[in-house]
Symmetry: C2
Subunit: 233 residues, 2 copies
């Protein structure tokens, strides 16, 4: 009988087994997202391609599309996944203000631990991890006595503030040689001292005030405003 497939008899032993014994579990959506986060953490948002991601997973690039519809899906899943690390405080053990401070602080920290996430904030965040923490934020404000229209305003203000802050901080501290970039900006201010007199002497990146204390100040102001609403509705 002629062999219908090309190849000669007995070469089975020379060919590697069709599905090589994996050290890793078979491909799954979770494993793709996990590896995508690792890739993003190590190399930044610009270096995530489906081919490189597949290579790290030891598969072909096209295989990923069985588990995931598009590259955007990977980004959306990765973005939501990192928020699982934001601990949801127990509101009983402390006041609402401490609970919200902890939640927003955790949110802020996670965004900065994964600087690539800041560039992805401009997409609808409807994943389970994000929604669970939004739910907690709304519930805590509601229990504190904040009612409409202040409820929406308070939730928006807090989340928009943390998003904007993380975005700006990631812009200036992430990437290669952030200190060099900041120094270049400083020099630019000083070189144009006539146009930017205040920035050149008091501006950002010039004064040695750190991001975190500035972030804390703004958060305090927002919470003060919200607290005032509670007391005088």
């Amino acid at each position: 009988m002629g062999t219908r497939q090309s190849g000669s008899a007995g070469d089975v032993w020379l060919r590697p087994p069709a599905r090589p014994a994996r050290e890793a579990p078979p491909l799954s959506r979770d494993r793709i997202v996990e590896e995508a986060i690792a890739l993003l953490d190590e190399e930044g948002a610009g270096w995530l391609t489906m081919r490189r991601l597949a290579e790290r997973l030891g598969t072909g690039s096209t295989t990923l599309y069985w588990h995931v519809k598009t590259k955007d899906d990977v980004l959306d899943l990765a973005l939501d996944a990192i928020f699982a690390a934001v601990e949801i405080p127990r509101v009983d053990s402390q006041g609402w203000r401490a609970a919200i401070t902890a939640l927003i602080g955790g949110w802020h920290a996670v965004l900065l631990e994964h600087p690539w996430s800041a560039a992805l904030l401009g997409r609808p965040m409807l994943g389970p991890n994000v929604l669970a923490r939004s739910e907690f934020l709304y519930a805590t404000l509601l229990k504190a006595g904040v009612a409409e229209p202040h409820l929406t305003a308070a939730a928006y203000s807090l989340s928009n503030y943390v998003i904007g802050s993380a975005l700006m901080q990631a812009t200036w501290t992430a990437g290669d040689e952030p200190a060099t970039r900041a120094a270049a900006a400083r020099d630019h201010f000083r070189a144009n001292h006539d146009r930017y007199p205040v920035l050149a002497t008091h501006g950002p990146l010039v004064v040695d005030s750190d991001w975190d204390t500035s972030f804390a100040f703004g958060l305090t102001w927002l919470l003060d405003g919200i607290e005032a609403i509670c007391r005088a509705p």
Copy 2:
């Protein structure tokens, strides 16, 4: 006299002029940026390519690279250009608080008039228009009596807040059929009423509170906090 150049006498009228009479002025960096903004406004950030931009300008795509180094340059220039529309208030005629409110309000409005800009906020903004308005913000706060470390904190809080707010609002109101997307999100909350009880009844996109009033509340709270610092340093 013989014609020195090749070609027969009188055919000038048959040949098109070598450099056709442009209806538009010759290509320049400004014209590229202007057209890029028009393209972005009409079709969104995802549809800006060098080829399409060149086509709208009536040139070849490679020609753009004579005036601009990379595509990122076009984006950076376009991003800074739109901030020229943010009017710098006159601080004399009004109090510092009114001036800052006007500046931040104008900033917010411009970001929403060009929703694509929100997706670009994660890059260093060092253009002349942005810096001129930052200079005004710092100068106004300084004149109002805000000193370090509150000066940096105040400037950061305000700009980060407006950036985050615009980013979120653009995410949910820009693009195709924003109402449809919002409705889908609402349905998602209600379908998972057990997991998101508060979001389903009081959540964003559910309550009919508009973005602008929420934005105004947060801005008021921040300014209240800053004003308190001025009075009690």
